[in-house]
């Protein structure tokens, strides 16, 4: 696991410590569960648009091969499998995988979970129609090498979706001080603000990795409804991008 990876070992250790509680709505991953509907709206909308699928159909993503990198407990893999996609969930933290496997079994879903990295899978020549990269890029040590591996994992015309956190004073207050210190949504030290990436920096990185970024949206916390929603204007903290592999 240590040979060919851009994942910072210190980061893996942090998530391993948090792995068992993935599916507890009120547990440590509550913020991710709260964010999930918003992320899923974006992902399903982009996939449906790119591949011409009707979301009201029985299994709209039938025939699509999808990879979720940094799959954790399977919060995104399970919905994608339910929508009919052939799903591979990859996570560099070995402890996440049995948690995810067990839960998929309970849900009656077939998902191929693997302890591996984007770089290793790319080296083996694996190909996908969709690669999901949600809340991961801010945790890797070499984002460009990582995104290049994501590019290599896509078929021509494939879709890459990447979400992360902006780097500005507001994101420091919201994501680190707010989420980690005040609300205790996330354990202290989950994020390293210096690793956060602005949308323009991410677009630049995606292009250098050979991808064509086509869309970006903010994910905005609404304190009134206590939920998250997509925003075309406010990318100041959490945001998500869609890119296509053209070559």
């Amino acid at each position: 696991m240590t040979a060919n990876t851009t994942i910072d070992p210190a980061e893996i250790a942090k998530f391993e410590a948090m792995a068992a509680e993935w599916w507890d709505l009120e547990g440590k991953f509550k913020p991710l569960h709260m964010l999930n509907p918003c992320r899923l709206d974006y992902i399903t909308g982009q996939i449906a648009g790119e591949f011409g699928r009707d979301l009201s159909a029985e299994k709209p993503f039938d025939g699509l091969r999808l990879l979720d990198i940094g799959c954790g407990g399977g919060l995104l893999c399970e919905p994608m499998a339910r929508l009919g996609a052939t799903v591979v969930g990859a996570d560099a933290a070995p402890r996440n995988i049995p948690v995810a496997q067990l839960h998929a079994e309970q849900s009656g879903l077939e998902i191929d979970y693997r302890v591996t990295t984007a770089e290793d899978m790319a080296a083996k020549g694996e190909k996908f129609d969709v690669v999901l990269n949600m809340e991961v890029v801010e945790h890797v040590s070499d984002p460009l090498a990582y995104l290049t591996a994501c590019h290599d994992l896509l078929n021509t015309g494939g879709l890459h979706i990447c979400s992360t956190i902006n780097r500005n004073p507001k994101s420091y207050v919201m994501a680190i001080f707010g989420a980690e210190v005040v609300m205790r949504w996330l354990p202290k030290g989950t994020h390293d603000w210096a690793k956060f990436i602005t949308p323009d920096e991410l677009y630049d990185l995606l292009r250098r990795a050979g991808l064509d970024p086509v869309d970006r949206k903010g994910m905005q916390f609404n304190p009134l409804g206590w939920n998250w929603r997509l925003s075309s204007r406010d990318l100041s903290v959490n945001y998500v991008t869609a890119s296509i592999r053209r070559d």
Binding site: L25, P37, T44, A57, E58, E78, R82, Q106, S107, L109
Partner: protein
């Protein structure tokens, strides 16, 4: 016999079939378990029961494809007149008058007889291949595996020995909801010591689509226009008086009704049977449990004072259908606590507020206290004098306020 579905609905009244149709249209496979035999539901005779469907509810029925079959039997409600009355004295000078023209979205609602509504639902369910309608079946036990998101997370054991499976269980089984009880959901409930007498009357003069609400000292009397020269009556009386009135023969019953009803519609006669319902408020302490959701009276039984019981139930239906459809399109597990939590968040505060408002109105109006009489006369005068307040009430009566589900827009 084993059947698997996405959603199993217990209760075949009106909310159950409405939810079944809304869910089936969104692609879910649905089972409806109805304790009533099909023959009872399909009985074409008019039994005197009718519903005041607010504009928003009519829109839902239209979205479900039922309205074309109902339109010719529906009586538009064009105006509502509210009077603080005292039997034998006629109305007080204070009267509230709400006219649909002030809002400009059509009638505030329609009166539809139960027999037409039941039939429209039965026909629509029979035509929908994703719905399995199990009539004359009662649930004796329900097993719920909260962790399991598979198609057998819910197992319902029926008295006939059948088993029905699903991912989500919805209780549309009324005030005494067995679904809620079996799920361990407790209730907060109290009675009003009042009984509602419900019947239909024929009258000499046309009603012009006007609904009347008289506030009598013993309880409110609603006179709601049906097609032709007929009205539906909801008459609330103290339990003892109601028992005495119900025991009267038809002629005696009409004699008792006349002083309250008044003579504005000319001579009156009974048109159908009489029904009576004890009035009370019953709120489920949670609208959801693991893989279980409650809809309509199973979640919130309220006083019929504002005619909002069914309308609130249909709004639950539209909200739950929307929450589940969105969850399905995201690939979420529909019985998941996060998904059901969204339904509860959407509906629980609204319905509890409405139930408590009907409670307050009933307490304020069902008495002969001179001070309260003065107070409510002043209140009604104030509402009647301010157009914005009047319009607010009309929009409320039409069910157009608050966060409307897509199926009601």
């Amino acid at each position: 016999m084993v059947q698997e579905h996405d959603i199993t609905i217990v209760g075949g009244g009106l909310n159950g079939p409405a939810l079944a149709l809304a869910a089936a249209k969104a692609g879910f496979r649905v089972a409806v378990i109805d304790a009533e035999p099909l023959e009872t539901r399909a009985d074409p005779g008019f039994d005197g029961r009718a519903y005041a469907l607010a504009l928003a509810s009519c829109r839902l029925l239209d979205a479900l494809g039922l309205w074309p079959a109902l339109a010719e039997h529906a009586q538009p409600m064009l105006e509502i007149k509210v009077t603080d009355g005292r039997a034998g004295e006629g109305p007080s000078p204070w009267m509230l008058h709400f006219d649909h023209a002030e809002v400009g979205e059509g009638p505030m609602g329609h009166m539809v007889e139960d027999r037409y509504l039941r039939h429209a639902f039965l026909d629509a369910m029979a035509a929908e291949e994703r719905i399995t309608h199990l009539s004359g079946e009662t649930v004796v036990a329900q097993d719920v595996t909260a962790q399991d998101a598979g198609p057998r997370a819910i197992t319902l054991h029926l008295a006939s020995g059948k088993e029905v499976h699903g991912r989500l269980l919805v209780g549309c089984d009324g005030r005494g909801s067995g679904t809620a009880r079996r799920a361990g959901i407790s209730r907060t409930a109290w009675g009003y010591g009042q009984t509602a007498i419900v019947c239909a009357v024929e009258h000499e003069l046309p009603h012009h689509g006007i609904a009347h609400q008289f506030f009598m000292p013993h309880g409110p009397l609603a006179i709601l226009p049906l097609t032709g020269n007929r009205c539906s009556i909801v008459w609330s009386e103290h339990d003892a008086d109601a028992a005495r009135i119900i025991a009267l023969d038809d002629a005696g019953f009409l004699d008792a009704l006349r002083p309250a009803f008044g003579s504005f519609l000319g001579e009156i006669a009974l048109a159908g049977a009489r029904f009576s319902y004890p009035l009370g408020l019953t709120l489920a302490n949670s609208f959801v449990a693991p893989r279980v959701a409650l809809v309509g009276d199973a979640a919130h039984g309220m006083h019929p004072i504002a005619g909002q019981g069914l309308n609130a139930g249909l709004r639950d239906v539209a909200a739950l259908a929307q929450v589940l459809t969105e969850a399905r399109q995201r690939g979420e597990d529909i019985g998941n606590a996060a998904v059901l939590g969204r339904y509860q968040q959407w509906r629980r505060f609204d319905t509890a507020t409405l139930a408590l408002a009907t409670d307050t109105f009933n307490r304020l109006f069902s008495n002969d206290n001179p001070a309260l009489r003065k107070l409510r006369d002043i209140g009604m005068g104030a509402i009647g004098a301010v157009p914005a307040l009047r319009r607010g009430f009309v929009r409320e009566a039409a069910g157009l306020t608050g966060d409307l589900p897509a199926l009601m827009r």
